[in-house]
Every structure is written in structure tokens, then in C-alpha cells.
């Protein structure tokens, strides 16, 4: 797959919504151990608000900015801003209605930078960043023109990163207050992002 159309892109998000919805309870359960038990609800809401904006969009920049603002209007919690900032960051780095491999990488890197304007959390802090950063890095490192392959790499890295959060101590978010007690449970946000990247790949791999 050499080109990612807006419609392909939308189908990636729809697939993510489906897969995350199936596992929403698991994400809330993880959040209940070290947070407030609502991450499953939050991430489903955020994806729903994003997909709601898809309609018959034809252009990346506008679509992504509408998705971002809609998330930040209709959903809440940490997920709202982080997700919204990711979408707005992508919007700032995407043009036209079809992207090639390097452009896809650039767009995702833009999303990551958008989030990094809102949080100082980095790798090892036991947050969604432990899935997202490796995913984006893996896409860039793969340097392939096959977009499907890029997402395969991203999904794999996100999954590994997410699972690794289990042994970490939380430095950000509600889980931080648990101190050492946060060790032993994977981070809800990292797990849901891993699920999304895996769905992105699934949508493209067919």
C-alpha cells in the first residue's frame, strides 16, 4: 500500500473504535486499579467524537482539526486533551487528500509533538507515551514506502511498550499518587493506544 487516502484513514479510526469498544471494560479495569476507572469510557467517547466528524471529508487538514476540536468539546478527562492535541498536531503536518509513506510518518510525528506540548511525560513514566513514542519511532525507523508495513511496525512497538509499563512506577496522571503500588499493573492509556495501533494495521491489512 503506497498511498493513504482520507477514506482509508477514516476506516483506520473506525476499526480502532470497534476494537477499543470491545476491550473498553479491560481499559477501565486497569484504570480502576491505579486511577479512577473510566479510561475505557473516555477512550471510546474520544474515538466516537472523532469518527463522528468523518462524514464525507475529503481533506486531511480540515478533517483532523475538526476531529480534534470535537473531541475536546464532547469528551473529557486526560484523554480529551491528549487525544485532541494528537489530532491537532497531525492536522498541522498533513495536507491534501492522499499521503505517501514519509508523509504518514510526518503526520504521526506531528501528532506526537502536539501531545508533547501538553505533557512532559516521556518513555518510562508509565503513561500512554510508553506506547505512542515507540510506535512513532518504529514507523520512522522502518522507513518503508509500504504504509501497511509502517503500521505493522508501529503496532508491534506500541504493544511491547504498553506491556512494559506493567513493571514501571507511575510519574504522571492519577496513578502517580499510588507510588510503588502502581507497579504490577499495565497503564490503561498505553494499553488502549496499543490497541488502536493494532487496529490501524488491521484496517489496512484487511
Amino acid at each position: 500500500m503506497q498511498k493513504l487516502s482520507v477514506q482509508d484513514f477514516i476506516s483506520m479510526w473506525k476499526c480502532a473504535l470497534d476494537r477499543v469498544t470491545e476491550r473498553a471494560d479491560e481499559f477501565s479495569r486497569l484504570d480502576a486499579v491505579t486511577g479512577d476507572g473510566d479510561h475505557g469510557t473516555a477512550i471510546v467517547q474520544a474515538l466516537t467524537s472523532s469518527v463522528d466528524m468523518a462524514g464525507n471529508a475529503t481533506e486531511y487538514k480540515v478533517l483532523l482539526s475538526e476531529m480534534g476540536f470535537n473531541v475536546m468539546m464532547h469528551t473529557g478527562g486526560s484523554t480529551s486533551t491528549l487525544f485532541g492535541a494528537f489530532l491537532l498536531g497531525m492536522s498541522d503536518h498533513a495536507d491534501g487528500s492522499e499521503l505517501d509513506g514519509p508523509q504518514v510518518v510526518k503526520m504521526f510525528r506531528g501528532g506526537l509533538e502536539g501531545i508533547q506540548k501538553q505533557t512532559k511525560a516521556g518513555k518510562g513514566d508509565k503513561t500512554m507515551m510508553d506506547a505512542l513514542i515507540p510506535a512513532v519511532e518504529a514507523m520512522a525507523a522502518r522507513g518503508s514506502n509500504d504504509i501497511c508495513e509502517l503500521f505493522n511496525a508501529a503496532a508491534e512497538a506500541a504493544r511491547e511498550g504498553a506491556l512494559a509499563t506493567k513493571e514501571m512506577k507511575a510519574n504522571f496522571g492519577r496513578a502517580r499518587n499510588y507510588g510503588d503500588r502502581s507497579i504490577g499493573t499495565a497503564d490503561a492509556g498505553a494499553m488502549s493506544w496499543a490497541c488502536m495501533f493494532s487496529a490501524f494495521h488491521e484496517a489496512l491489512a484487511g
Binding site: 477501565s28 475536546m72 501538553q118 499518587n177
Partner: protein, 337 residues
């Protein structure tokens, strides 16, 4: 999370926040109204020449935060879903409604979601030329008394702050003056929470922070997220002594100092128990000659049906006493004659 049979009076879980706000503004329609979805404002707006006080936070903590919208307190509360900060765009919508030359003071409780929404909304507001200043509350001492402010959660200590800065705004003070008064209070207030028993997330039925019967956790957060450490349940007097002891370590009240002491129930702990707790905490302060000049026992900020309470201690300057006690307030859940 153990999904169990829900034992709450609700309808569809996803409509909880909308329906509770509807009920609230119907009951108190002479005092509050909805300006837009999840934006609670006064029924009779304050003179726009004065600074507006806006706050944000998740629902599920009733009467906080929207219960304190009213004359002499908040102008606006922007509500998120259960335990979730409202999104930045929703908050930005509220800031647009309160745009004024005098400016807006935005009260943010230090929780990751609230802070991120507030920061993002302020970036949007700045671009739109709206004058807004942020004041962050960080009264929780459960992380230890030397913990940097940015690592301390905002608990129910925001509520007396609303009264103080709300009264100052009503007097026509400038944004900088109000900020200074509020920030001085923020430096002198400390809160500690204790939980015993868990609570149910009303939307997904998750039991958050399962505690064994007969166990308590001092340092609990207000969403069931943990904090301090678990221990066996103590008597009311012993619990009060532990908590007021830790609060005094932070606040260091001296003989002759004037303080505020609140015991805020978070759910199923009765006013009966809270009064017994208050009694002992007051006795400990009185023994050291510390004068409690303002007190409340009641539910100001709750955590669903969780059992437990938050104890709030603040050293008060004379202007704080004046603004707290001798200025009218008329919000649905706070009235000062």
C-alpha cells in the same frame, strides 16, 4: 473493577451528567442556569465590570463544583462527565462567554486532566485575546509535606477558596488583587482525605479502590485513586488526631492564630460521624491555643457513596476571615447571610 448490580437511581449511564444538571437548575432556577451544555452560570449575572470566577471539573462530586455558582462565589462552573475534566474546547466556550476587560480568574484543581484541559483552553483563549489568569489549587498533603506543589492534588480546599475570591471579585477588586488573595490562601491551606470502603463508578459499575471491611486509607484521592497507606480502622478520636496532626505539621498554626477547620463528608459517612471527628480535631487545636474562626461540617465535595471524609485546615489572614464570614453569598449549596 468488579461489575456488580448497580444500586443507584439513574437512567441511561451516558445521560447522568446532563440529567443531574437539568435537575439541579430546575430546583434552583432563581439562582443558576445552563448557558450551554455543561456550562452552569448564575441566573442573574454579575456586573460585567467585575472579574469573573470560572472553574472546571468532573461531575460525580455533587454539590461540588456547580453547587457553588451564585452571588458572592462562582460565576461559572464548566462540568465534565463523571470524574472527568471537561474538554478544552468546552472550557474555551465558557471563557468566550465571560470575556471582559476586568478579566477571568480560572480556578483549576491540580489533576492531570483538569490541568491539561485548562492549559489547552488558555492557549485558545490567548489566541482569541481573552484575558484570563489561572490559579491552581494543590491542597492535598498525602504525598508528604515537602512535596512540590505541582505534585499535590487539588482537593476540597478549593471550596473556601471560591468563597474568598468570589467575595473579593464581588467587591470589584482587580484580577491581580484577587489572584494575590487567593494565592495567599492556597499557600496556607492543607487537606487530607481518609476513605473506608469503596465506591461505584456510576457509568460502568466499577468498584474503585476496594478496601477490606475494617480497613481505612489515609491520603485517599477524591476519585477512589489511592494515596497514603492502608491501616486498620481506628476510633473517631484517633483518626481525627492522626489527621489534624499531619495537617498541623504542614500549616504550623501557632497560639493565637486564626484558622478554618472543615470536615467534608465524601459520601456515606454520616454527619453524626463527621461531627464526632470535628469535635476531636477542634479540641486538639484548642489545646494549643489555636482559634477556629470558621468551620463547616457537611458534604461539600463528595466521591459518590464512598465512606470517608476530607479534613481541611487553613491559617487565615484578616482579609480572608472578612471575605469568608462577613460577605454575602447565595449559591444553592453555600449561603452566607
Amino acid at each position: 473493577m468488579n461489575t456488580k448490580i448497580m444500586t443507584k437511581f439513574i437512567n441511561e449511564p451516558e445521560n447522568i451528567t446532563r440529567e443531574l444538571l437539568d435537575g439541579y437548575v430546575l430546583a434552583y432556577s432563581d439562582k443558576v442556569a445552563l448557558a450551554a451544555e455543561n456550562i452552569v452560570v448564575r441566573a442573574v449575572p454579575k456586573d460585567p465590570s467585575k472579574v469573573a470566577i470560572v472553574t472546571l471539573g468532573g461531575s460525580g462530586h455533587e454539590p461540588a463544583l456547580s453547587g457553588f455558582v451564585g452571588e458572592g462565589m462562582l460565576d461559572c462552573s464548566v462540568v465534565g462527565d463523571i470524574f472527568a475534566a471537561p474538554g478544552a474546547q468546552r472550557l474555551f466556550q465558557a471563557l468566550q462567554l465571560f470575556r471582559r476587560d476586568a478579566g477571568i480568574l480560572l480556578v483549576v484543581l491540580n489533576h492531570s486532566g483538569d490541568v491539561m484541559s485548562a492549559n489547552m483552553a488558555m492557549q485558545l483563549a490567548e489566541r482569541a485575546g481573552i484575558k484570563v489568569k489561572k490559579i491552581l489549587t494543590h491542597d492535598d498533603i498525602s504525598a508528604g509535606i515537602d512535596t512540590p506543589e505541582e505534585d499535590c492534588r487539588g482537593l476540597a480546599g478549593c471550596i473556601p477558596l471560591y468563597k474568598i475570591i468570589g467575595a473579593a471579585a464581588e467587591e470589584g477588586k482587580s484580577l491581580d488583587e484577587i489572584y494575590e488573595i487567593g494565592e495567599r490562601f492556597n499557600q496556607q491551606v492543607a487537606t487530607l482525605a481518609v476513605a473506608m470502603g469503596s465506591c461505584t463508578h456510576p457509568q460502568n459499575g466499577a468498584t474503585i479502590s476496594e478496601l477490606a471491611v475494617g480497613e481505612m486509607e489515609i491520603g485517599m484521592g477524591q476519585h477512589g485513586e489511592g494515596g497514603g497507606g492502608r491501616q486498620m480502622l481506628e476510633s473517631a478520636d484517633k483518626t481525627a488526631e492522626i489527621m489534624i496532626g499531619q495537617l498541623c505539621e504542614k500549616i504550623q498554626p501557632k497560639t493565637g492564630d486564626k484558622v478554618l477547620l472543615y470536615v467534608n463528608g465524601v459520601g456515606s459517612t454520616t454527619l453524626m460521624e463527621l461531627s464526632i471527628i470535628f469535635r476531636r480535631a477542634h479540641q486538639v487545636l484548642a489545646k494549643d491555643g489555636v482559634e477556629v474562626v470558621h468551620a463547616k461540617i457537611g458534604e461539600l465535595l463528595t466521591v459518590q457513596e464512598m465512606a470517608g471524609f476530607q479534613m481541611i485546615l487553613a491559617k487565615l489572614d484578616d482579609d480572608h476571615v472578612e471575605l469568608l464570614k462577613n460577605r454575602k453569598a447565595d449559591a444553592p449549596y453555600w449561603t452566607t447571610v
